[in-house]
Amino acid sequence: MDSKILWRIALIVVVVGLCLWSLYPPGEKIHFGLDLSGGIHLVLQVQTDDAIKAELDDASQRLVSRAREEGVEIGSPESNISNLSFTVEVPADTDTAALRQVASDWVPGYKASPGVGKWTFQLPPNMDRTVRDMAVRASLETIWNRVDQFGVAEPVIQRQGLESDRILVQLPGVDDPVRVKDLISSTAFLEFQEVVGGPSPDRQSLITGLGGSLPSDSEIVPGDREDIEGNVIGTDYYVLKKAAIISGQELRSARRSQDEYGQAVVNFSTQPHAADKFGQYTASHIGTRMAIVLDNKVISAPVIESRIPGDGRITGNFTIEGAEDLALKLRAGALPATITYLEERTVGPSLGRDSVVRGVQAAIAGLLAVMLFMLVYYKRSGLNADVALVLNIVILLGVMAYFGATLTLPGIAGVILTIGMAVDANVLIFERIREELKVGKTVRAAIDTGFSRAFGTILDANLTTLIAALFLFNFGTGPIKGFAVTLSIGILASMFTAVFVSRTIYMIALGGRERVETLSI
């Protein structure tokens, strides 16, 4: 055997070997999509108008209260979401220069348009986008935290598109949609609670420290332990008083800021009615820790440094991102944008398993029929095609496993379809060889011409199918994408197996003989 054939055999062995290796063990390597394994698929929309309203309310109230401190009496702030502005009543005798100064200090960027007895403040255009974007990001964050409680393996929680207000949630194996939806769309639960004990890396030592049992008015709440860079390195537990000092509904806003040393901090303000309560509590608890608890998880437990009136500041070892994150979390609790569900699909595991069984049955039946036909129609060359076909499936599944592609129900259909279409390349080649033999060419020449002539056709024909698959992938969702992927891989694999592998098999079969008189085709 000459070196060219050996080189070809080596390549085939390596490719097939790699595919088999990435495929083993098949149960673990082939991921089933939600439609086969069962689970929940949700598309939800964040009502970002809520966040705009909160921003406008916040700005108008800030303006009114700051103006009052400067001795400028204005009143009755009113937000208007549809044209992104708020109005305040401005009496005729107001010092307008002072009002403009307050506005540029405290609601920077807002464009003020004075009117008769009423001024309109327009939200800065870039802020419109920022606020909406923040609302979606805050919702994403909150949903992540909540889904975490479910302990779902490999959840998918992502924004659909960069600027979109839609969030995609996929939870494999979960089949209780009502509960999931309740959990996700309930307003975030944020509380400030008194720390009685902790932090400590294990619960038991906390309880021991309290004299063996947990007082009935306290609870143990976990929180992430983070290193200086903000990476999670473990869990800390805290003993907290159950009764909250204030809750998220009583917060008005939270934003990242800097203290006088340039350190990143988070500023927050409470609703007016909560300010007194909060001020009194903090005044009497200076030096103790206060935990900020979001969805039953301690996100921060700062030490109270001074009395905190309506406006407070959370300091800590924050990076800028860390402060931004915390502000985001506080806003998520304080400014929940409502969530509506646009799309929801739940597949029970028994339904999915049924589909798998049937799909595999159909694949095996189709495969056997095609292989048998090729064998009968093209005799020993048909055997060649059958080998190519089996290798094609091995490569298709192997590549899918390697890239962690998901097998969906339409994906199974794609595999089955590939079986039918993969032999097309072989058929094209064999028909061409038959033609060449008929015009009197020798076997070797017929095979050579057959392969080279057919290759152009195969390339053209397969590229058109790839174009269709490309658009399918681009515009499709979930299961459809899976189909496009299997179809594309199958087509590419068929070009390797039908052209390269089949050719090599002919080389091996005919290689040893001096002269070849007949070809079984």
């Binding site: 069962g38 598309v43 929309q45 089949d175 209780d176 509960r179 939806k181 509506t340 569900y341 646009l342 799309e343 929801e344 699909r345 739940t346 597949v347 029970g348 595991p349 028994s350 339904l351 049924d354 049937r358 799909g359 159909a362 039946a365 189709g366 029929a369 095609v370 036909f373 009968v376 129609y377 129900l409 339409p410 259909a413 089955i416 379809l417 039918g420 279409m421 032999v423 097309d424 094209l428 028909e431 056709t457 024909a461 397969n462 590229l463 058109t464 199918t465 174009i467 269709a468 698959a469 490309l470 658009f471 399918l472 681009n474 515009f475 969702t477 299961p479 459809i480 189909f483 179809l487």
Partner: protein
């Protein structure tokens, strides 16, 4: 072995008959689509809620129909799903007047009220979720674990999962006796469940709801995907061959997609995302078939320069006929197997391919080449005229 020997069929002579035949079918189909019930767009595209339920016994569709009619959600579709002896039912309702929202809950509540009245409020193992079951067990504490609720929750959680796992495995609890098959359940807890729980008439196998916004979105995306891939094909064939061939191939594609859509309308099959995927696959397949014929034409044009184009086309179609038939045959084999064994979910997908492959094979012979021929004549005569004009 050989199915198609050497043929010399003058395919292009039949082009008038073929074009008239296709035109009549398409025209009749379009009239039917517009005047008749039209395309049956599924919830993926119009929005709506679709639930698949499994019943313990043969369900009474009439009762369900009148139950759901009370919900005022248009005419619900209620039909058996999969094989009849599995007692699986598909319920589909449209969202009224563009309303977002999920109608699973109201429908289930309604059926539960009507069909499970004999449970007397006992815990329904066929409808309740794992959290509820954990709570039930942890509160009653049949194994006497003691401790606080957290400890009990942890203790009963695996049991609850096992009990519901059995339901997931089989789709439904037919009777309480099946609790005996749940290995992880302790004897005391089993006794407790046998006393307090019951098996309701049905369980939920799957539920989907798509709001009208997403529906409109998906509809747009599906149209774009089909439109773009047609344009993509046109450009690709234009580059690889010539404009007349590209036009011929795309006309054949339109023809195939239209006839397949008509077949879907006539059979009242639902059009969903997988159906669109099948349509696109059909687009790829049909062009594939056409390209093989065109490829041969190009080769023959080089060999027999100057011969009559119509004869050359006939020769090329005859030369590739054997391949066309065999490939269609092998693809049909797998599609038929998908159609027969694939189950309800994939059935329409297979149907589209089944129709599409037959129509696509026909069109690559009788539509694509004739159109390319006519286009070519048109272009040549125009060029000829322009040349004469220039001379004058």
């Amino acid at each position: 072995m050989r199915i198609i020997g050497d043929t010399n069929i003058p395919f292009l002579s039949y082009r008038k008959i073929a074009l008239v035949l296709s035109a009549v079918v398409i025209a009749a189909g379009l009239v039917y689509e517009f005047l008749g019930p039209g395309l049956n767009l599924g919830i993926d595209f119009v929005g709506g809620t679709q639930i698949i339920l499994k019943f313990r016994e043969e369900p009474d569709l009439g009762v369900m129909r009148s139950d759901i009619a009370d919900l005022d959600v248009g005419t619900p579709v209620i039909q058996t799903f999969d094989e009849a002896d599995k007692h699986e039912i598909l319920i589909r309702v449209e969202n009224p007047e563009g309303e977002e929202g999920d109608f699973t809950r109201p429908i289930i509540d309604l059926l539960n009220q009507d069909l499970n009245s004999d449970l007397d409020g006992r815990f329904d193992l066929n409808l309740k979720g794992s959290r509820e079951l954990i709570e039930l067990l942890a509160t009653a504490d049949p194994d006497g674990v003691g401790g606080d609720s957290e400890v009990r929750n942890l203790y009963y959680e695996p049991m609850a999962d096992a009990v519901l796992g059995h339901r997931k495995e089989n789709g439904i609890y037919f009777s309480l006796d099946e609790l005996g098959d749940v290995v992880d359940l302790t004897a005391d807890s089993r006794d407790f469940l046998e006393d307090t729980a019951a098996v309701g008439a049905f369980s939920i196998l799957g539920a989907e709801s798509v709001g009208p916004t997403v529906g409109a979105d998906l509809q747009k995306k599906a149209m774009l995907a089909i439109g773009f891939s047609l344009v993509g094909m046109l450009i690709y064939i234009w580059i690889r061959f010539q404009l007349p061939y590209a036009v011929g191939a795309v006309v054949a594609l339109f023809h195939d997609v239209l006839i397949t859509l008509i077949a879907l309308a006539v059979t009242h099959r639902e059009i969903n995302l997988p159906t669109v995927a099948a349509l696109l696959t059909l687009v790829g397949y049909s062009v594939n078939d056409t390209v093989v014929v065109f490829d041969r034409m190009r080769e023959n044009l080089r060999l027999y320069r100057g011969d009559d184009l119509e004869q050359l086309m006939n020769l090329s179609i005859n030369q590739t006929l054997s391949r066309t038939i065999i490939t269609s045959g092998t693809t049909l084999m797998v599609v038929v197997s998908l159609y027969v064994f694939g189950g309800d979910v994939i059935n329409t997908f297979a149907f589209v391919l089944l129709v599409g492959i037959i129509v696509g094979t026909y069109s690559s012979i009788f539509i694509a080449s004739p159109v390319a021929l006519s286009m070519n004549k048109l272009l040549v005569s125009r060029r000829e005229r322009r040349r004469l004009k220039g001379k004058r």
